[in-house]
């Protein structure tokens, strides 16, 4: 194994630490696949055929691959929404709610200004989405900073409230004439453009650009340095003159803004409409992906990819093997368990 590590290290992009981490993750994922295979066997289903189905539908065709990418897009962004606050030691479990409110704000923009050209409307919607998410994140952040309530608890409560607000808005004001549970389809100007006849939309570029900015800020800029200091030792950072309270509130709101942007990206790029349950735990998935990746941008891309392969593959599995789609969650869960449990065999440094 070390030989492979050596060979890969020759590539300029891969430092030795990156390669070793990558190999470790690969092994963990393989182990998870193995365990899932066992479950399938117990359920009387051929694991090898199932895996063939998963991989052929996702990686076997260009369209399948594009579907994986489509599914990845929101998760990249919601993971980033967790990674940024994580850098200063904040745990943003409120992404789910921020996503919804951001989507709602963006929908407001789409429905209120249908006559604007795309190059105006889309950035407007993006800004609205970020505003919505930032507001939703501000509430727990503020309550925590005045010492009233734990931000995890408030975030969780607000997560449950947000979808209901969205439902209310749709039912009460925004629903399409034919369908009371969704808004009318967005005009073309409100839709993020797609590429090459697939469903991959501009959100991908947004997500990747954000991740690159994140990486750059953290590695090179003054703010990245100060944020890292806060995350590493908040009291020392304070004594060194870094404005702790300011950073905590601003970063939390930024995290919310990013999650809100993810909401906008989903309704504008993927669905083209807003309906109450559009999320399917995207916020929580982002949390998990960030956790698995240790907050590292490259890791986020990789883990989002793995999760998307698993989910997309599950679609075919449902058709061919008669398994309920939900069963694919077991494979996902095994991957999560193994990474969380950090078995000694795979142990590396904690991020």
């Amino acid at each position: 194994m070390s030989k492979i590590t050596e060979r890969l290290t020759r590539f300029p992009l891969f430092g030795q630490k990156t390669v070793r981490t990558g190999m470790r993750y690969l092994l963990m994922i393989l182990f998870a696949f193995l365990m899932f295979g066992v479950i399938l066997l117990i359920a009387g289903i051929d694991p090898l055929k199932s895996y063939e189905d998963i991989f052929s539908s996702t990686l076997g065709s260009a369209y399948g691959f594009s579907e994986v990418v489509v599914s990845m897009i929101p998760m990249l962004i919601t993971a980033l929404a967790v990674a940024l606050p994580f850098r200063v030691g904040l745990i943003n479990i409120g992404g789910e709610g921020q996503l919804f409110i951001g989507a709602a704000f963006a929908t407001f923009g789409a429905l209120t200004f249908p006559n604007l050209p795309a190059w105006l409307l889309l950035p407007l919607m993006a800004l609205l989405g970020m505003l919505g998410g930032a507001l939703w994140a501000f509430i727990p952040g503020y309550l925590k900073s005045i010492g009233l309530v734990n931000e995890t608890i408030t975030s969780l409560l607000l997560n449950s409230v947000a979808p209901k607000i969205v439902g209310f808005l749709i039912l009460g004001f925004w629903h399409s004439p034919r369908d009371t549970v969704r808004t009318p389809n967005f005009v073309d100007a409100a839709r993020l453009p797609t590429f090459f006849g697939t469903r991959v939309h501009l959100g991908l570029v947004l997500g990747l650009v954000l991740l690159v900015i994140f990486w750059f800020v953290l590695k090179y800029t003054r703010w990245g340095l100060e944020m890292g200091a806060i995350g590493s030792n908040p009291q020392a950072a304070k004594r060194n003159g870094i404005p702790l309270a300011k950073y905590l509130v601003i970063v939390m709101c930024l995290g919310g803004a990013i999650a809100g942007l993810a909401g906008m990206v989903q309704v504008s790029g993927f669905y083209g409409t807003l309906f109450p349950n559009f999320s399917m735990s995207l916020g929580f998935m982002g949390f998990m992906i960030c956790w698995l990746a240790g907050g590292d941008p490259l890791g986020i891309v990789l883990m989002a990819f793995v999760v998307s392969v698993i989910y997309s593959g599950g679609n075919l599995l449902q058709l061919t093997r008669g398994l309920p789609y939900a069963v694919i969650n077991i494979l996902l869960a095994f991957t999560l368990f193994i990474v969380l449990a950090r078995p000694n065999f795979f142990k590396g440094k904690r991020s």
């Binding site: 800029t221 003054r222 703010w223 100060e226 020392a236 950072a237 004594r239 060194n240 003159g241």
Partner: protein
């Protein structure tokens, strides 16, 4: 729990510690110490910080294991491996930070430590027992009250009740009066007196002379890990005890005296009647009047825990004063942020670099930039000029003759190197005011000399320094002026050549100043 009264002349000690030796990395905390504890006696363990008192008692309580030596119970050797085992031997200890659970009631906190607690709690019976014992020894507390609602003094009563109800017969109290008001201290002594009459053996760890002379029957003085002496109360006097606590020789190191400080120069730091409010087990500062002028080193003597940390934090701006004002360089800085304080040229070397000054997971070089990120930021913050950071750091390192790696994570440095790193970082900005807290703690001889030299160099260039230290030799040799901090207030202020170690020692232990002749 209640013993029959024993006479004062107990022949045999109930607990004996023989030749206890314990060292930690870099320091010999206990050096072949002997201690005899008798029933119906209050035994004071007296000494400065670092003398080894707490360590010795933590060994008895099973918190630490001694490197060599033995512990005898009624002349039988025993091994105490954990606090739980100590409690089985009926030893109880009240630490400086209480181990109470605020959200539980008094009765529940006590119940947690009862040796035989039935599976179904009999609340009535527990309350009854608490009331009984608290009445007997005047430790009145409401068993139903939540600990979070109690004052510090009441919490201490609960801690003692906890020990009594857990059937301890040897009670160890670590600096119990540090957080008490004077009248609470009196009440505590009465309690200890009635406990002693009932046969309990009590160990009082303290650095305060008054307490020792007021309530102790027997006194053991530790100094630098050694046994300085053991005497009965009847043989003891303030003079004798101070002589045992502090080294007899006065510091002879003479530093090049600077120019005379003119009274009219604008002070770099001025605290005027400054007071702070303490949270929990912190010490509140009371009416501090302090001036540091350019080219002056003001040393702060005192036993750790009397407000030193708070004084440093107040000067930095980490805590704000609730009374009085703070001036830096002539301007009112009472409400300014730490960033503004630092920007105006203040450096801070804290007592614990790992927890208070550095980001452990970042590299040494990155840490170097943390106090002045604005100075090294380029392109509006998009880029950091690491070369400039490196150059500045290396220049200072050369001047101080310090050397440590720059590209490793900070936490991999040894304690000494961490301190050196912080010193280099703070000195690099050529501060006008330096707050140095326990500057040479944990440093080897060479680094100590270099660090002190750095301070003197800065002083000679016109900087002012607040030097907080527990090393009297250091204070006497470096300070231009010396103040003593006791219980959050300034107990005395003079020039080193006007006083000596004993006088300072008196003030550090809360005694009245007796002016002793200089030899």
């Amino acid at each position: 729990m209640l013993r029959k009264s024993a006479s004062h002349t107990n022949l045999k000690p109930i607990v004996s510690m023989r030749a206890i030796t314990k060292s930690f990395p870099g320091v010999l905390a206990n050096d072949r110490l002997d201690l005899d504890l008798y029933a119906s006696e209050i035994h004071a363990l007296l000494g400065e910080n670092g003398a080894g008192k707490s360590t010795l008692m933590k060994i008895l309580y099973g918190f630490y294991h001694c490197d060599s030596g033995e512990i005898l119970f009624n002349e039988q050797p025993v091994a105490i491996h954990s606090p739980h085992a100590a409690r089985l031997h009926q030893i109880g200890m009240v630490f400086q930070d209480f181990s109470l659970i605020p959200a539980l009631s008094v009765a529940e906190n006590i119940a947690l430590f009862l040796p035989q607690l039935p599976a179904v709690l009999n609340i009535k019976e527990i309350n009854h027992r608490i009331r009984e014992v608290s009445k007997r020894y005047d430790l009145q507390v409401n068993p139903h009250a939540m600990v979070s609602q109690l004052s510090i003094g009441e919490q201490q009563k609960v801690e003692i009740l906890k020990l009594l109800l857990a059937e301890a017969t040897l009670l160890i109290l670590d600096e119990p009066t540090r957080v008490l008001a004077p009248h609470e201290t009196e009440a505590l002594f009465k309690v200890l007196d009635s406990l002693r009459k009932d046969g309990y053996a009590i160990v009082l760890i303290t650095h305060k002379m008054k307490e020792v002379l007021e309530c102790a029957d027997r006194i053991t003085v530790l100094r630098g890990g050694h046994l300085a002496g053991t005497l009965l109360r009847s043989e003891a006097s303030e003079d004798k005890l101070v002589a045992l606590m502090f080294e007899k020789k006065m510091a002879t190191l003479q530093v090049n005296r600077k120019r005379d400080i003119s009274e009219s120069e604008v002070p770099l730091l001025e605290l005027s009647e400054a007071g702070t409010r303490a949270e929990g087990s912190q010490t509140s500062l009371k009416a501090i009047d302090l001036k540091i002028r350019p080219g002056e080193i003001v040393g702060v003597a005192g036993v750790s825990g009397n407000g030193q940390k708070e004084l440093g934090d107040l000067a930095l701006g980490m805590i704000k004063c609730v009374q009085g004002r703070k001036f830096l360089f002539g301007k009112d800085f009472t409400n300014q942020s730490i960033q503004q304080v630092r920007r105006s040229g203040v450096g801070f070397i804290p007592e614990n670099p790992l927890t208070m000054a550095i980001a452990p997971f970042m590299t040494v070089l990155q840490n170097m930039a943390l106090t002045r990120t604005w100075r090294y930021a380029r392109a509006g913050g998009l880029r950091m000029d690491w070369k400039a950071v490196k150059d500045d750091a290396e220049r200072t390192m050369q001047a101080l003759e310090f050397s440590f790696p720059l590209y490793v994570p900070a936490r991999s440095l040894s304690g000494g190197n961490l301190q050196r790193m912080v010193i280099v970082r703070e000195m690099t900005q050529e501060p006008h005011l330096i707050i140095a807290s326990y500057l040479t703690r944990g440093l080897d001889v060479q680094s100590t000399i270099a660090a002190r030299r750095a301070l003197v160099q800065a002083r000679d260039k016109g900087a002012g320094i607040l030097l907080i230290s527990e090393d009297l030799e250091e204070l006497f040799s470096l300070s231009d002026r010396l103040i003593v901090l006791y219980a959050g207030a300034i107990a005395g202020s003079f020039k080193p050549e006007e006083t000596n170690v004993f006088e300072v020692g008196y003030l550090m232990t809360g005694s009245e100043v007796q002016h002793v002749e200089n030899n």
